[in-house]
């Protein structure tokens, strides 16, 4: 390996270090047996134990998981069917639909948050579970559509024609031919939606009320009060859940 090659790898490593070092430090300190100091005092599960002993926190975690599961499922149902339709049909207003999806994806989170807040306020909907769910479905849909669309473009249109020629209705074609072929992308879209929903701070901040607390907002209010080993542990768990879902989603998308 020559010197130039070495310098190139060093640069890559440096950036990867920048991306991963803070996360690694967070994870390592969540196991450190010391409340305040940075000094390494040995391995402990204490902080994780403290989290488990906090019933409020467990309820909050359950709330988050519930919203993430429901919003990912509804968004995947709407998004996957819509992606198939966008790919297969020409229809009136298609450019407008594509533009709306794109704008929805690019809209800064804070703008989406207040826009939905104004919508819910003008409908006099009380902020809580339902408003949060509607908001999360909204920001998940475009990600599902994009994930599924990128997979459809790659497959053989003759399969769909064959199904139609053999007398299948559009619904039967969707369920028995298209869906099995798209299954990896659909599952990946669901997993990515789940992580988006689990991690969202900005939109949720505006559209949920005190009646329904979720994990990211809980972490946000805890962090503002200071750094504690319990937050390290909680953040490590959040990272663990997200990481495993992304890795599964990516491996599904990579398969031929």
């Amino acid at each position: 390996m020559n010197l130039k090659r070495l310098a190139e790898w060093m640069y890559l490593l440096l950036i990867y270090g920048f991306l991963y070092l803070p996360i690694l430090v967070l994870i390592v300190y969540s196991f450190n047996d010391s409340k305040y100091s940075l000094e390494w005092r040995g391995l402990t599960w204490q902080w994780y134990q403290n989290l488990l002993d906090d019933p409020d926190l467990l309820q909050t975690a359950l709330n988050s998981a519930l919203i993430a599961t429901l919003s990912a499922t509804v968004a995947t149902a709407i998004g996957a069917m819509a992606a198939v339709a966008i790919h297969r049909y020409a229809f009136f207003g298609k450019p407008l639909l594509n533009a709306l999806l794109f704008v929805l994806m690019m809209t800064p989170d804070i703008v989406m948050g207040i826009a939905l807040l104004i919508l819910f306020a003008s409908l006099s909907l009380p902020l809580g579970f339902w408003t949060l769910l509607l908001a999360h479905i909204t920001f998940n849909i475009p990600f599902v559509v994009v994930t599924v669309l990128s997979r459809i473009s790659g497959f053989d249109p003759h399969l769909i024609e064959a199904a139609r020629d053999l007398g299948a209705t559009e619904f039967q074609t969707f369920r028995q031919v298209i869906l099995p072929l798209l299954a990896p992308a659909v599952v990946a879209g669901w997993l990515l939606s789940f992580t988006l929903s689990m991690d969202d701070v900005m939109v949720s901040f505006f559209v949920t009320g005190p009646s329904f607390e979720i994990l990211p907002l809980k972490i946000y209010s805890m962090v503002r009060l200071g750094v504690t080993p319990e937050i390290n542990a909680l953040c490590t768990i959040m990272l663990g859940v997200t990481l495993s879902m992304i890795l599964i989603a990516q491996s599904l998308l990579r398969k031929k």
Binding site: L12, F18, L26, L119, L239, L247
Partner: protein
Amino acid sequence: MTIKEPFKLIAMGGLWFWLIAFALLPNLLVIIASVLERGADEFVVFAFTLDSYRRLLDPLYLGVLLDSLQLSAITTAFCLLLGYPFAYLLTRMPERWRPLLLLLVIVPFWTSSLVRTYAITILLKTNGLLNQALLGLGVIVEPLELLYTPLAVIAGMAYTLLPFMILPLYGSLEKLDRRLIEAARDLGAGRLTTFRRIILPLTLPGIIAGGMLTFLPGLGMFYVADLLGGAKTMLVGNLIRDQFLSARDWPFGAAISVMLTLLMGLLLWAYYRSSRRASRGILP
């Protein structure tokens, strides 16, 4: 194919309904709210006024807007400077390594930016790892005040947004036709000229897309300013949030976010223009 097909109706109907009800309508309501008067008991009073837009020019708020634009611009420039060579090197790596190297960029892209911002606070604390390391190395004698500075906000934003810059850059660098570079070199262009006249214009869509994905979220990330900047740094995001939470001035908050949306429109327009040019092979 007839319109009576129930699948098409349900698939399209569902998406249309959702986008109109929860994307188009809310944004129209924001525009409407921004030209209404602020109410004492209600959030808005139905009377037309451009007061909220006039207040954007108030030196107090204008200062916050400009500061925030500046912080975001610096963050974007920093990400571009770090990310461009990185994305370029990624495209030059051996084929079998690339999926793994790319995955390592994608993973932070999807993880919680709140958690990652929090991780930065651990590093930057007065008795944090960075200060300890610098003290240990003898670079400094006293711990530096790193947290609660504009610099910490920039570092935090750059850290959470870097993958958003790298991924579009990688996308456009990967599509780059290497024969064009060789042709330029064969015709006698130096390295710098080749970069400036060939590589840069052809990867401009990636640069603009990456810039958009770092610059716009950078303006809104109120929790980064809260956690890393203390009360000293205000972003557009903090200003908007305060209008809806503490100040209860919804029309003004709506007006600021209309400005953000217009800015997004401007950047999108720049992106379309540059990508159409790049795909037709016309260099500016």
